[in-house]
């Protein structure tokens, strides 16, 4: 593990804890390492799954998560793209585009 750590409390189903502990004995890893590995793999899969990424972007467009939360989840490049796309639909931007047209 690298970086800062934070102590959190979770209630896990008992059988999952037992499975993790048995695997830990076999692999000579502690319970925390196994949970961290599992969570890291889940987050990697989730944030590279296009459907889930689109759901995250949707939450950002709707204002349910802010840009910093978006960036943490999908990385700076995708987050930057989603921010630009959100700006496209700002009422003021749309109005400015409409005002810039000339149909005479």
């Amino acid at each position: 593990m690298s970086g800062e750590t934070k102590r959190v409390n979770f209630n896990f189903p008992q059988h999952l804890v037992e499975q993790a502990d048995v695997l830990g004995e076999v692999e000579q890893r502690d319970r925390t390492e196994i949970v961290v590995t599992a969570l890291r793999e889940y987050l990697h899969d989730a944030t590279t799954d296009e459907q889930i990424v689109q759901e995250v972007a949707g939450a950002y467009y709707d204002g349910r998560i802010d840009f910093e939360q978006l960036r943490v989840l999908v990385g700076p490049e995708k987050a930057g793209n989603f921010r630009l796309l959100k700006q496209q639909l700002d009422e003021e931007f749309i109005h400015d585009v409409a005002e810039s047209m000339d149909f005479e």
Partner: protein, 172 residues
């Protein structure tokens, strides 16, 4: 008139709804001074000549380009990111012409493209359609119908930006 440089995918997208009256394609060319690099024209003509799904909308875009200014020689600077030739030429032209907008639907490369633009603002097709409604030149129903056609062509149904654009359009 306001200068707008357009990229290949956007023009082809808007071309898929040319049967509407008014069409977003005709409004684009009526409402803006559209300028495109020859590289974009070449890409659209190629799509019109062989690509099955894009042949009709690309041909509509080719026809509409009759009224646009085509710039044959664009010297692409090294600072323009390594994208498709049409995209790179469109970015360079937007900078050279100091255009107000670059019409571009490269949703996955927008940050990269924006970083290469001097003053031009990015404009996507869903935002353009919404602006037509805001300007009172396209009904909400017609914009919804034409945007649906674009989404079908571009397989945007599961794209959250398209879904958000639909909601914004619905609420106008």
């Amino acid at each position: 008139m306001t200068l707008l440089v357009a990229d290949t995918p956007s023009l082809v997208s808007i071309g898929c709804a040319e049967q509407y009256d008014p069409s977003a394609l005709s409004l684009l060319f009526d409402g803006f001074d559209v300028v495109v690099p020859q590289a974009v024209v070449d890409e659209i003509e190629t799509l019109a000549s062989y690509d099955h799904d894009h042949r009709q909308p690309a041909q509509a875009a080719v026809d509409a380009l009759d009224t646009a200014r085509i710039v044959s020689q664009v010297n692409i600077s090294e600072s323009v990111p390594p994208l498709d030739l049409g995209e790179r030429a469109a970015i360079e032209l937007a900078n050279d012409e100091q255009s107000q907008y670059l019409l571009c639907d490269e949703f996955t490369n927008l940050t990269l493209i924006a970083s290469a633009l001097d003053d031009a603002e990015l404009l996507t097709t869903p935002a353009l359609m919404t602006a037509f409604v805001d300007a009172g030149v396209l009904t909400k129903a017609d914009a919804q119908a034409q945007l649906s056609e674009v989404a079908a062509l571009r397989s945007w149904d599961n794209n959250s930006y398209y879904q958000r654009a639909r909601r914004v359009l619905d609420q106008l």
